[in-house]
């Protein structure tokens, strides 16, 4: 039967969820731009990118553990910790700042590595492990920055939060670089394959003779690294570090929402960080709609909640044409 189907049928099927996320973002963003007073202009795009890429990178971080059927509730806190670290280290001459960048990223990777170690060798569930390590990472951030402050290398920051010569926001270029340097190699590597396999069925993967422990550890390490990239970018946007548990919480939860809107199933085994990126953009655009619609200020939180709920319930449409109820219970 299936041999009649051509390759592109399966390829499309594999990327369908991502494409839906792209479409959702495109629609929301089109509405935003259409209603915006100055519309499609470089400053508007740059503003949107500076905000969107932060969440997109954290959502990428979240995607990796989710693909293995796990989750990382500490991404937001690693993000905050990296922000606090960067506000000390990414300063001075460009060379010193570059050294600081390396240290910040390494610290993020270390946090992720610790998560991985505890999950694999401590045999604890990821969700509760990272909930607890997240508290620890936040404590460390607070130790670094009891109150907001610090600075960042201004040249670097201005370059990254501005626009490239062609009018493309620099943040978008950073995001693309992250995708090309981290996500694509991971996804195409033996390891990334194994990660998906674990998410699909851990027992089967184990019995197939795949190194599960190593795969998980690398996956959580990369998640920590990506979260730190996000924290670093936040520092470039804010020129300071702040140990805010509220921000950590918001990024963690929004990253999960972005992953789901991006079409990655929370039980793992299928999905893509590209989808999560667009899921994050879509979420951010929902926030931007406040700006272009004239809403009573006290109605705004409700409006955002309702739109979020609508966006995540979007997938329920497929239930309408569901013929076999068993498909509900996969």
């Amino acid at each position: 039967m299936s041999s009649k189907r051509s390759d592109w049928y399966f390829r499309l099927r594999e990327h369908r969820a991502t494409l839906i996320a792209v479409a959702l973002f495109a629609v929301l963003f089109a509405v935003y731009i259409a209603k915006h007073q100055i519309g499609w202009t470089v400053p508007v795009l740059t503003t949107a990118a500076n905000k969107g890429v932060l969440l997109a990178v954290v959502a990428m971080a979240q995607t990796l553990p989710v693909l293995t059927g796990g989750i990382d509730l500490s991404v937001g806190m690693v993000f905050v910790l990296a922000n606090c670290l960067a506000s000390y280290l990414v300063v001075g001459t460009p060379l010193q700042a570059a050294g600081g960048v390396v240290v910040v990223l390494a610290a993020g990777a270390l946090c992720g590595f610790l998560n991985g170690l505890i999950i694999v060798y401590g045999r604890l569930q990821p969700i509760i492990t990272t909930l607890a390590t997240g508290i620890v990472y936040y404590g460390l951030a607070l130790g670094l920055r009891p109150v907001p402050g610090g600075d960042v290398q201004a040249g670097l920051a201005d370059a990254l939060t501005g626009a490239l010569p062609g009018g493309v926001p620099a943040m978008i270029a950073v995001l693309c670089a992250t995708v090309v340097l981290v996500w694509l190699p991971y996804r195409r590597s033996v390891l990334g394959r194994a990660a998906l396999a674990i998410g699909s069925s851990e027992a089967a993967t184990y019995m197939s003779g795949v190194a599960i422990g190593r795969t998980k550890i690398v996956t959580y390490t990369l998640a920590g690294l990506l979260a730190a990239v996000g924290g670093l970018l936040l520092t470039f946007v804010t020129f300071s570090g702040e140990a805010s548990s509220a921000i950590g919480g918001v990024y963690t939860l929004n990253s999960i929402a972005a992953v789901v809107i991006g079409g990655t199933v929370l039980s793992g085994g299928a999905g893509s960080a590209i989808g999560s990126i667009f899921g994050a953009f879509a979420l951010r655009t929902i926030g931007d709609l406040l700006f272009v619609f004239d809403l009573e200020p006290l109605w705004q939180p409700l409006f955002q909640g309702v739109i979020l709920l609508t966006a995540v319930s979007f997938g329920a449409v497929r239930l309408l044409k569901l013929q076999n109820r068993l498909d509900l219970y996969r």
Partner: protein, 325 residues
């Protein structure tokens, strides 16, 4: 030798280990605290902790039901607030007679939000982690609007105050009695009723439960309704305790509730766990927070200790078995 190991095996595989180990950790914590001040062992302090633990205990009861199903309820913060705000508002709207309905009305509002959660998760099949997050945002939006737009009454009724802070029976806090009743009801539900059996079944494999002729979606819905009601009930208790309801009053309950359930030995992926474990987990978390607070460690030290202790305790007794292939 074999007898020993088979006993150990029974202990390991049964639900008693987390309860016993959690209780042991609780004692250790108290002894550790008593090095700082012997008052940590005074009945006064312990009763106060039990009273305060009751609020978390009621939230955690609902959280546990949802976790047993394999879900998670992230709408706790604002559903707690809704419980508090709507009960006091009811007392305001309907005057004298309102006070009678205040408590049930607040709980009902929480149950209604739980119903929405349940519809989203069970019928729309949105992952609970996401849908409940959305409901949390909606609940916040509603409360902001309600406070700003209608200026509701937010003063606790005398009944709420009495339930939350009174000590009418052998000097035991009334709140503790409320928790005990909720807890006994939950244990009965989980271990003695067909509904309880279905909750475990769904948490293990919803598909098989469905094919066994159980309306799994309805059971899921019901659990979310109960969870919403529990959160709101905790909001009512908290209102009684503070003598008023206020915005964001539930913020401090989300993570501790999850942590308590898991420390109590409930599998975060569902299907396994005992309510007694959750009770122990709640006491443990409450004590930990209180001792860390009173010992005046720096905020950084508190957070780090809190996280490390949770992981440490789970490493001691909460480790998953290797999936037996």
């Amino acid at each position: 030798m074999t007898r020993m190991s088979s006993l150990a095996l029974r202990l390991r595989s049964s639900e008693h280990l987390p309860v016993a180990a959690g209780a042991a950790c609780t004692l250790a914590l108290l002894l550790f605290g008593s090095l700082y001040s012997s008052n940590f062992l005074s009945p006064d302090y312990l009763l106060l902790q039990l009273q305060i633990a009751s609020f978390l205990g009621v939230v955690a009861t609902g959280a546990m039901l949802v976790i047993l199903l394999g879900g998670i309820d992230l709408s706790v913060p604002w559903v707690v607030t809704v419980g508090g705000m709507m009960s006091t508002a009811a007392a305001g709207w309907w005057g004298e007679s309102g006070a009678v309905f205040a408590i049930p009305f607040g709980i009902l509002c929480g149950a209604a939000l739980g119903l929405l959660n349940g519809i989203g998760v069970a019928y729309l099949r949105v992952p609970s982690m996401i849908f409940t997050l959305g409901i949390n945002a909606v609940a916040q939006g509603l409360i902001v609007l309600q406070t700003g737009g209608f200026a509701p009454q937010d003063r606790a009724t005398p009944a709420m105050h009495l339930i939350a802070t009174g000590r009418s029976w052998f000097g035991l806090p009334n709140a503790l009695l409320v928790w005990a009743v909720v807890g006994a009801g939950t244990m009965f539900l989980l271990h003695r009723t067909t509904l309880g059996r279905s909750i475990y079944a769904i948490g293990n494999r919803e598909r098989a439960a469905y094919l066994s002729g159980v309306n799994t979606r309805f059971v899921t819905l019901l659990c979310f309704v109960i969870a919403g009601a529990c959160s709101a009930a905790a909001g009512v208790l908290l209102t009684g305790y503070s003598t008023k309801a206020y915005q964001a009053m539930g913020d401090a309950y989300q993570l501790p509730a999850i942590a308590a359930v898991v420390l109590g030995g409930t599998n975060i992926l569902g299907g396994r766990g005992s309510h007694l474990g959750t009770v122990v987990g709640v006491v443990l978390i409450t004590l930990l927070q209180s001792i860390l607070s009173v010992m005046q460690i720096s905020e950084m030290g508190r957070q780090v200790t809190y996280g490390v202790v949770i992981i440490g305790m789970l490493l001691i007794y909460g480790r998953g078995r290797r999936h037996s292939a």
